[in-house]
Subunit: 220 residues, 2 copies
């Protein structure tokens, strides 16, 4: 049950579908999304489509140029740096103030287990999903719907960056065990250590991401 969002307005459902395309990497960064083509493709009116475009633009997944149309956002060094700055702030703060019996800790441990299974099975995109789940669970420690919503937006933007990588394996695989350490520290209520560990984790991930981005944009 993918929870199709039957009751929701058309524009919201449309935005979901397009977002799915974006994070699945089926639309390349910088590509222009023609209103005519997409309203044809999804069999909706141009007006409804425009509403969806506007929502995705607000989420940072699309860029809107006046009188020129909407384009798939292209990740830049600046955006990657900003995204990881957000992640360090939010995730570390969530860990630091976590209640040591919070339900999300269970979700974190489950995500780690899932990640290990997938890694051992060689299912790299599965490892990626498990990793995303893990970090979403960290955010849930903060018990704030607004923070969680915001993180989802950031998360989608980050997945757009992942689309640039040729080899997603190297990005996520080494982090599975670090996730394990973090949740172990948290279970022992060593929140400060957990946060420090996560901070190191995120710095490493950021450097990896930036290096890959550099390599992907230099030889153009």
């Amino acid at each position: 049950m993918t929870e199709d969002g039957q009751g929701l307005p058309l524009a919201d459902r449309l935005a979901r579908r397009i977002r799915a395309l974006l994070i699945a990497g089926e639309l390349s960064p910088g590509q222009r999304l023609s209103e005519a083509a997409f309203s044809e493709r999804f069999d909706v009116s141009r007006n409804s489509l425009r509403e969806a475009f506007r929502l995705l633009t607000k989420d940072g997944l699309l860029r809107h140029e006046a009188n020129r149309g909407v384009f798939v956002a292209v990740p830049t060094m600046a955006s990657v740096i900003d995204i990881y700055r957000v992640r360090r702030m939010l995730e570390c703060a969530a860990l630091r103030q976590a209640w040591h019996q919070h339900a999300a800790i269970g979700a974190m441990r489950d995500a780690v287990a899932e990640g290990r299974e997938r890694r051992d099975a060689g299912d790299w995109t599965g490892v990626g999903s498990a990793n995303m789940t893990f970090h979403a669970a960290i955010i849930d420690l903060a018990d704030s719907t607004r923070i969680s919503e915001f993180y989802e937006r950031i998360s989608a933007e980050l997945r757009l960056c992942f689309g640039l990588l040729k080899d997603p394996a190297h990005l996520h695989a080494p982090f599975v065990d670090m996730n394990g350490e973090i949740v172990t520290l948290l279970e022992q209520n060593k929140r400060e250590e957990a946060a420090a560990q996560l901070d190191a984790y995120l710095n490493l991930a950021e450097r990896t991401m930036l290096k890959t981005l550099e390599r992907a944009s230099e030889p153009s």
Copy 2:
């Protein structure tokens, strides 16, 4: 120069105007915003108006009920608690990791001075604005456009809550001097103390807000 946003799409400009009405308290919480009435009022088409409504709904300022229309969001205990949780997380984290020569510190000091002037002049709404400026400057310490944008959204939602108060003076006035202490601590690079002070500040503000909200909703 209110920076009218000439080049921006109509929907964005509309959203701004309506947002301004909302935070100015000219639309009461729970009120239904008829598409016909508003498209008439702003002299735009229903389609354009609907785009603007969708933007504001995503910002949490409006609520959208299927086939019933959009309503001005009504602040609840839950939303106030969540908003202050976000503020504690973001603002305290920003203080903790602030670079002690960051330009935003100057902006903070200026906002404090402005707040004192306005308070002494008895200009309470001016005190409120200066206070908002002060906290936006704290967020700017984090140097993240995404966080700043997110905080703006939270800030607008909070102003919607302020609209419920009969006596805005009591809410902001006592905080001017606390702001002063915070910026002083920060100038001495006592970031941890500044964060602790802000945390206490926000707890106090939250309690005040909740009490007022209770008083405003109980005797209905």
